[in-house]
Symmetry: C2
Subunit: 378 residues, 2 copies
């Protein structure tokens, strides 16, 4: 099947004059059933949140409070809040995953919660390692509660993830934990690569894709197979679902990389030119540097000079400096290539579904979720 | 059975004039078979190290190098080194644990390596959280490779521990991983308590024991049950072995707390008065504060004043200031109480062994290890 990608539609009219506009424009050609995806994400959130809160309540003080702040359930002063707990794509996938194996969505619930715990463990630690001060429109945990709590609560969420699964006490839970552990190791490998790439002048497109596959693909792959494993699916089925999730993750990350440069700060909750300010060697950047031509060469010159600046000096740049770099990335084809890459990964993800025998409505929802991932604005 | 504890022997002659002398003096009444314990620890190290090194080699660059530095296999410049990898009590216990269940020591090997990985995960993170600059006579990982690598490699070792066990793919491995996860959660709870106690003026003896049970008891308990679980032992046997390990851990920690104040820096690799410099509310301190009398009151006054000082101000203290505090702790009975507590925990640990049917030579070695733990100088 082919999908008329809103990303391709948007990027085919790419111009350097569109900063601040949405990266991806949902237009009349969009086949994404937004209501269905919204319901799916809502179901994941509704079923997983109480179990997640009960899990977090097991933590010793003050880790329970710190975790509750991270998840947006309370504010920095400890008052109940209706925070933004994120898109909750992973829990939605884990419940669908159980249904793909013919089990009830509830069968996937411990998997949904475990994956969400690992995801948030990595956010807590990555924000600290990367020095990121904002997440989901709020100060990050290390900013509010200090580095030690960010480390400690991250560790606790990771341990809790395994505990939630293993206390099921079944052979399926053992297999599910093993897949989760493999995914977590890849997640950590990806963060290690991400950090080491920051100190290198050049990163290849292949290295960037490998890093993003580890950092984003592996855990989405686990989310979309873990419910099936808990529902008794065999390894072949679980592997095919993982393949869908892995490529979905790469599509997700390609869109994230577009939003990191051209996203609307009001929608993403990040600063303008966020990834450029952090000198991230994301897909649009490495693709632009890999291209031929004057824009690519000029970008490389600027980045070599930028690398010699201190982070403070760099962040003090005028907005126009970042805009100039974004324009060069676009002129060198980095934006267009990344849009097409999101589409390619989307296509590969959908193709993986064709190797699994699953109820038609489950397949439709997995397709709708993949469509949503590539058109989202945040 | 009763053991003439070298600790009691030493502390019964306690005087304020002995700073710098060994805390515990092995004398002719010592029943510890040092050669047997040495052989046991050596066996654990010899069998576990190659498996541990192979596990660490799985890590993505540069995490493999950072971990190798932490374990003492290379120096800060990357050259091979014969570093001090620690006492390796846990691997020795895990191998004995398998033998306690009638299995070969090798059966416990994945458990030995998994426990050692979790132990070192916690060292990497705790050293960073606590700001400790030295471990095993060398700069800590965060000092040499930076905080991000200490976080990341800690995370990786934790994940690797689960991976090593779960890839065995057996029901026993699932049960072993569940016990390891429970122990790891307690370890993290203990570190959370330790950190929160630093900010409190008073900590009770019970709170201190609970914290030390979590921080030290839980993982030793896991070490001494995990081999048996992998060898097919039932839960009752595993629980009894855990009980031995838990109380062994508390005895171990009581001795550690004595060494943290009165230990010989050349043997421990820590500064003189190490725990006092860090204002740790360790067992001798909380026991002294809980006592009646002028020494306890004077100590409390000094500590209230100390609490108002900055860490830098405090570390600049003259040696005599720390010596005065150590003398007050001893006069208030904190040193004596902690020595006796080590002995009480030792007795409880040995009693737990009586509920398990195991080969006589295995029991003898577990007793010898417990004896060793309370007479060690480092």
């Amino acid at each position: 099947m082919t999908i008329d990608s809103p990303i391709e539609a948007a990027s085919s009219t790419a111009s350097t004059e569109r900063e601040g506009e949405p990266v991806t424009t949902a237009n009349e050609r969009t086949v994404v059933d937004n209501a269905s995806v919204k319901a799916l994400l809502e179901r994941g959130r509704t079923l997983a949140t109480p179990v997640l809160r009960a899990a977090v309540d097991r933590l010793a003080k003050p880790m329970d409070t710190v975790a509750a702040y991270h998840f947006g359930w309370i504010d920095a002063a400890g008052r109940p809040s209706e925070g933004d707990g994120g898109k909750a794509v992973r829990p939605a996938l884990a419940l669908l995953s159980a249904e793909a194996a013919g089990a009830s969505p509830e069968t996937g619930l411990p998997g949904a919660v475990a994956v969400e715990l690992v995801h948030n463990f990595s956010l807590l630690h990555d924000d600290l390692m990367d020095g990121d001060e904002q997440r989901r429109h709020r100060d990050t945990v290390w900013k509010v509660h200090g580095p030690a709590q960010a480390i400690l609560v991250g560790d606790a969420l990771f341990a809790l993830a395994n505990e939630i699964l293993l206390e099921l006490g079944t052979a399926e839970a053992g297999r599910a934990t093993r897949r989760l552990t493999t995914a977590t190791r890849k997640l950590i490998d990806g963060q290690a690569q991400d950090i080491s790439y920051e100190h290198r002048e050049r990163v290849t497109v292949e290295e960037c894709l490998e890093m993003e596959g580890n950092k984003t693909g592996a855990l989405l792959a686990c989310a979309v197979s873990i419910g099936a494993v808990l529902g008794g699916a065999d390894d072949r089925t679980a592997d095919a679902l993982e393949s869908y999730g892995y490529h979905l993750g790469l599509a997700f990350q390609a869109v994230d990389d577009l939003l990191g440069i051209w996203g609307d700060p009001d929608a993403t909750g990040k600063q303008t030119w966020s990834d450029l300010r952090q000198r991230k060697k994301s897909l649009p950047v490495v693709a632009a540097l890999a291209a031929e031509g004057p824009a690519s060469r000029r970008l490389a010159e600027l980045m070599t000079a930028d690398a010699k600046k201190s982070q403070a000096e760099f962040e003090d740049f005028d907005e126009a400096e970042f805009a100039a770099r974004a324009a060069l990335i676009e002129q060198a084809g980095g934006r267009e290539w990344t849009s097409q890459e999101a589409q390619r990964q989307h296509t590969t993800a959908i193709a993986a579904l064709d190797t699994v025998d699953m109820p038609g409505h489950v397949r439709d929802q997995l397709v709708a979720l993949a469509d949503f991932v590539v058109v989202r604005q945040r």
